[in-house]
Amino acid sequence: MTSSVITSNVSKHYGRVAAVRDVSFDLKSGETIALVGHNGAGKTTLIKLMLGLIRPTSGSVTMLGGDPARGDFHVRQSVGYLPESVSFHMALTGRETLTFYARLKRVEFSDAELLFKRVGLSADAVDRPVRTYSKGMRQRLGLAQALLGTPQVLLLDEPTSGLDPALRQNFYDIISALRADGTTVLLSSHALTELENRADRVIIVDRGVKIADGTLDELRHIASLPTRVMIKLSDMEAAPQWSGDWCRQSGGGWEIGVDAADKIDLLKSLTAEPSLLESLTLAEPTLDELYAHFLGRQAAE
């Protein structure tokens, strides 16, 4: 796999404030990356650096083999960007808006037209002024413009914030299709749970510093957070007979956290006498928990 975007030791200062400090990563083609962090952690600044809208104070950014700040035509043409809470010129219709952006990217309008269907913008909405659009429709139009000209790199800043679940699903379906085509997709978000099975890789930033980078499994391994095992006993009155620190749950079940190394042993003993159990549920640490863990570790340092 080739690298589409490389940042090496990038820092960006605004006056005395360091928005991004010494961040390095490279994004491969066909990879879907979640860029995760609090508001103000530096996610948007990183995206702007990758787009070349701002220049790094130190370090370097390479986008598709070139310096994005130079604004090379073929580089800009191959990058799709959806800004956080995207806005358009209110007076123009959806079609006029997309035509304008398609012209700038030298994309045939017939191709642009197909994008309306792809993002699910209905035919009657297309010819209405953007002023009348709901947040979801604006976001669809935003995605349509980002997809113009089949980009090799797609940078989506908080793409699903404020969208209804059906639209989110639609969004992620489109992204999966792009991944199959070899597009690098970077999603910034703080809605972690929905990224759980969608990102190949997670980069966590906090106060401008990259604090974790890896696949979910790798991060789980590094964090070594316990897996939670939840059981319900057939005899509601009894306490669990297995050793360990079982906690009573509100629904009448019991819960325990186990380290990865002890997980299999516990499961073996639990299932040795199936009649004792009514149900058994396993929960791996969620992205939320991992995120909290890495942030906590960062704060402690």
Partner: protein
């Protein structure tokens, strides 16, 4: 170049949709027609001079209105897009920053030129329709006035673009635009007049007066339209014009510089600005 046209075209499209084009055209036409027919009342039907009367009244109107319209159009051209969030997306596209500035400027200039031609042209058409005979010299002067008015609009558009790239907030841009308008249209001439009165009849060096007249684009415009021909006698500008060595080409050149320099500086400022 294609990008410039694309951006300009979108700006015109928006101007049409926002009713900017319609509103300014109607405003200019309405005032121009009013001035044409009311303006002919005091002079009566003196025949060939009628278009010259119109030229005098329309240039006085243009000095107040066109800078105002131009500044209203242009002061938020950049800062407004930046505040509404549309600029950041546009900058991520394969389009140069100067292409954005020049494209938008040309779009706005087309809107302004269209309104001026139609609005002021309506006055001339109305005169012809009412059976007035107009001499070729008057037509030439009228055409010059139209061209100069568009140029005056371009000057203030250009100043508006400079304001728009320098400030961070729309409201600041609006305030500065109003200040600029007041300064050039009202305060400057009053101060100039005050200065001349204070000089108590001592001869002001011609070079100083020329410089002062060129330093204000509205004065250059006034002199260009009213300083010569039949209009100078009608407007009383002949006296000022006679005391100055400023010829029409110099005045035109001054206006062109006024239109180009602020826009050029705006380009430089915008190229350095971080999104």
């Amino acid at each position: 170049m294609m990008n410039v046209l694309t951006v300009a075209r979108k700006e015109i499209q928006e101007g049409r949709r926002n009713r900017w084009v319609l509103a300014t055209t109607l405003l200019l036409a309405g005032l121009a027609l009013t001035l044409t027919f009311l303006g002919s009342a005091p002079t009566g039907n003196v025949g060939v001079n009628q278009l010259d009367v119109v030229i005098v009244s329309l240039s006085s109107l243009a000095i107040f209105l066109l800078p105002l319209i131009a500044l209203l159009l242009s002061h938020d051209a950049i800062v407004g897009e930046s505040e509404r969030g549309t600029l950041i997306l546009l900058l991520s596209y394969p389009v140069g920053r100067s292409e954005i500035v020049i494209g938008k400027f040309l779009g706005h200039l087309s809107i302004l030129a269209f309104s001026t031609l139609i609005g002021f042209g309506a006055a001339a058409v109305a005169l012809v329709a009412s059976g007035t005979v107009i001499s070729p010299a008057s037509w030439r002067a009228f055409a010059t006035m139209l061209g100069a008015s568009i140029l005056l609009g371009a000057v203030f558009l250009s100043i508006g673009y400079l304001i728009s790239t320098l400030v961070r907030e729309r409201s600041t841009a609006g305030g500065i635009a109003i200040g600029i308008w007041l300064f050039f249209v009202l305060i400057y001439d009053m101060a100039l007049l005050g200065g001349l009165v204070a000089a108590q009849g001592r001869a002001v060096p011609a070079l100083l007066l020329d410089g002062l007249l060129l330093a204000n684009p509205t004065d250059a415009y006034r002199l260009l339209n009213l300083g010569s021909g039949a209009a100078s006698t009608l407007s009383g500008m002949g006296g000022v014009a006679a005391g100055s060595s400023l010829s029409a080409p110099i005045l035109t050149l001054a206006l062109l510089l006024w239109a180009i320099v602020p826009l050029g500086v705006a380009n430089i400022v915008f190229a350095r600005r971080e999104a």
